[in-house]
């Protein structure tokens, strides 16, 4: 028995190198030439150093592995690597200085019509677009660092850009300073996990017409306008952190025409607006924490059948505001730190309902200048009166079972 094992093992060791050769590249060698000469399935091992190349085209299954991050410097010209093939694996490269043009969407690595590709552990710096994929599927994009240093929105492209792709993983990437951190359009069945998306000029995450996708444990911080997601159904967003998105039109998340989705266990902290919703329906918001936002939720009257259940609202300036008197959404069992009711039967649910909209937020919605009177005695007085006898605020925006104590999500989520 043992002898046969050893023979099989030896045979395997013998056969693998003949199937795929390993080609080593030193600085000074041309990567493009090496690729042209390589056979399908070969591995190119790129040794450390600087390679001044751009428009490197890969049209066959290949593995590119960088040793100690060799730098491919495109010197501000065009794309760096262009892939149109299956089973391409790119790992450990440092790619810098792509062209800066919207004509060809210059990118660090660009994929067309590709399948089963993996992009792991790469560093992209000063790229226009970082990783750009179109019409591809089964991609794994993992552990990449993408940093752009543009000062304005039009000077840079998107970090990870997927157009018409499906069945992919975007995991554990770090994206900073691009236009949109992650941009998905017509992308289905894709999962984005554990990404850190920081300080991008426009949106941290931007997707449109991208159904059946899920987003877990990502962090979106200090992006120009937060996160914007539009015209999509069946989205799952779980345990993400949306933080410090400040500005005139900055949102933790902007949901426009999102249906049948779930927003669960996320943290919204210190955003001007935590969630802004328009034309969205049948979406469930559960176990989220809204902490120190200007407005925790702006729920436009065009939304219907959404459920807000068991969320924590802590230290927000305004909890909820809306623009109409019709409310077709349900609020239930949330904890509101501004709730002043009592609990006589000790079931930990307040005995009188809570109205999360205060009069002043309605006024500020109509006349933004009035925000300057916030926290003045007069406004506090008006709010009290409105709480007792609601006249201007929508009567149906009401939580009939407000919790007396905040939920502890830390134990529940882990």
């Amino acid at each position: 028995m043992k002898a046969t094992h050893i023979i099989i093992g030896l045979l395997l060791i013998w056969f693998i190198p003949t199937q795929a050769a390993i080609i080593e590249l030193k600085p000074g060698n041309s990567i493009q030439e090496a690729i042209n000469q390589a056979a399908e399935g070969d591995t190119l091992k790129i040794l450390p150093g600087i390679y001044l190349e751009h428009e490197i085209i890969i049209r066959k299954p290949l593995t590119l592995i960088g040793v100690d991050y060799p730098t491919i410097d495109a010197m501000d010209k065009g794309n760096v690597i262009i892939v149109a093939a299956e089973n391409v694996h790119i790992e450990g490269l440092r790619i810098i200085r792509t062209g800066k043009s919207n004509l060809d969407d210059s990118a660090g690595i660009k994929f067309f019509d590709s399948k089963n590709c993996t992009i792991i552990n790469n560093r992209l710096e000063q790229t226009f677009f970082g990783l750009h994929f179109s019409n591809s599927s089964n991609l794994t994009i993992k552990n990449n660092t993408l940093i752009s240093v543009a000062e304005r929105e039009f000077q840079t492209g998107n970090g990870i850009h997927l157009w018409k792709c499906k069945d992919s993983f975007i995991e554990n990437n770090f994206i900073q300073g691009h236009r949109d951190g992650i941009y998905l359009e017509f992308v289905t069945n894709t999962e984005s996990n554990h990404n850190m998306v920081l300080e991008n000029k426009r949106y941290g995450l931007h997707f449109m017409f991208s159904h059946e996708n899920s987003y877990y444990k990502n962090t979106f911080k200090r992006n120009g306008a937060g996160v914007a997601v539009m015209y999509t159904r069946n989205v799952i967003m779980k345990e993400n952190i949306f933080e410090e998105n400040w500005g005139a039109s900055a949102y933790g998340i902007l949901l426009k025409d999102i249906t049948d989705s779930e927003v669960i266990g996320n943290i919204f902290r210190k955003n001007t607006i935590g969630i802004y919703m328009e034309g969205s329906s049948r979406t469930i918001f559960k176990r989220n924490e809204f902490n120190q936002n200007g407005w925790a939720i702006k729920l436009m009257a065009s939304c219907d059948q959404n459920t807000f259940e068991a969320n924590n609202f802590l230290g927000n300036t305004f909890d909820i505001s809306t623009n109409g008197s019709v409310v077709l959404n349900t609020l239930t069992k949330n904890y509101w730190d501004k709730y002043e009711g009592y609990d006589l039967n000790k079931d930990r649910i307040g005995d009188i309902p809570y109205r999360p909209i205060n009069l002043f937020s309605v006024i500020v919605e109509k006349i933004p200048s009035a925000v300057i009177l916030w926290r003045s005695f007069l406004v506090t007085l008006l709010d009290r009166m409105e709480k007792v006898i609601p006249s201007i605020t929508p009567e149906n925006m009401i939580d009939h079972s407000p919790k007396m104590n905040p939920y502890d999500f830390r134990t529940a989520n882990s």
Binding site: T317, P368, V371, I372, V379, T380, L381
Partner: protein, 255 residues
């Protein structure tokens, strides 16, 4: 002048009012610190006290002090001392006592439970408002002969600045909502010391909400060196002009 100040101070301390006020503030501060652990909530609750209670007490205390000491003042005026010194000693004594009460009343709990820039700003605003309302109260006092009338005027100053004025501003904003009003409202704020104090605090407390378009405009103004300088200058003017008017009247007043 200093001798006069010393005697007026001793007089106030003897009246036990200062002690009561300090104890009251300490109790309020302690209860606020006990109830909420979050620093921003503490400063928020303290802000409400500062904006409501402090001006009210300053106004009433200053008026009653002026009239309680009227006989002493008249006696002093018969002596060869400058009228200016008599007046200043009276008002300074009130200001010193009110400020000390705030510093001890809020400062001791702050030392015990920790403070940050926001709370320190708040302390400054409280002292500023005390000075302003003491000045307004003295102005009301020298303009009338009757204690009740003077208290009435002081109270109406307080109601005007903390309630009526904001009502006017809100009405104005509401009825002219079709026009861009950022600059106008900014200007209007400068004519009310209570609002001014509140806005300076708002800039530190509700940053997220104020970052909306209008908020960003205010934030930009009050955050810039020019804004800070202008708002502190305005606070200073508010402290000085009622006092100045009161002193002018006092110097020529026939007691």
């Amino acid at each position: 002048m200093f001798k006069l100040l010393k005697y007026s101070l001793l007089d106030i301390v003897k009246s036990r009012f200062a002690l009561l006020y300090t104890v009251f503030l300490i109790l309020v501060a302690i209860s606020i610190y006990q109830v909420s652990e979050d620093m921003s909530k503490v400063s928020l609750s303290l802000l409400n006290i500062m904006l409501m209670m402090v001006p009210l007490i300053a106004a009433i205390f200053a008026t009653t002090h002026f009239f309680n000491n009227l006989e002493f003042t008249e006696l002093m005026l018969a002596q060869p001392v400058k009228r200016r010194d008599v007046f200043l000693s009276q008002i300074l004594a009130v200001i010193v006592v009110l400020s000390l009460a705030i510093i001890i009343g809020f400062g001791v709990p702050m030392i015990l439970w920790g403070a940050d820039v926001t709370v320190l700003t708040l302390l400054g605003i409280g002292i500023g408002l005390s000075i302003i309302f003491a000045g307004l109260a003295f102005m009301a006092s020298v303009l009338t002969r009757d204690k009740a009338k003077a208290i009435g005027i002081s109270l109406s100053f307080w109601i005007y600045f903390s309630l009526v004025y904001d009502g006017f501003v809100l009405y104005l904003i509401y009825s002219l909502s079709d026009y861009p009003l950022e600059k106008t409202t900014l200007g209007l704020v400068f004519f009310n010391p209570v609002d001014l104090g509140r806005i300076i605090m708002l800039m530190q407390l509700d940053i997220s909400a104020l970052m909306g378009y209008t908020g960003a405009f205010f934030q930009q103004f009050f955050g810039s060196a020019k804004g800070i300088l202008l708002s502190s200058a305005m606070m200073l003017i508010w402290m000085l002009w009622p006092m100045g008017v009161a002193m002018r009247v006092f110097r020529k007043k026939d007691f």
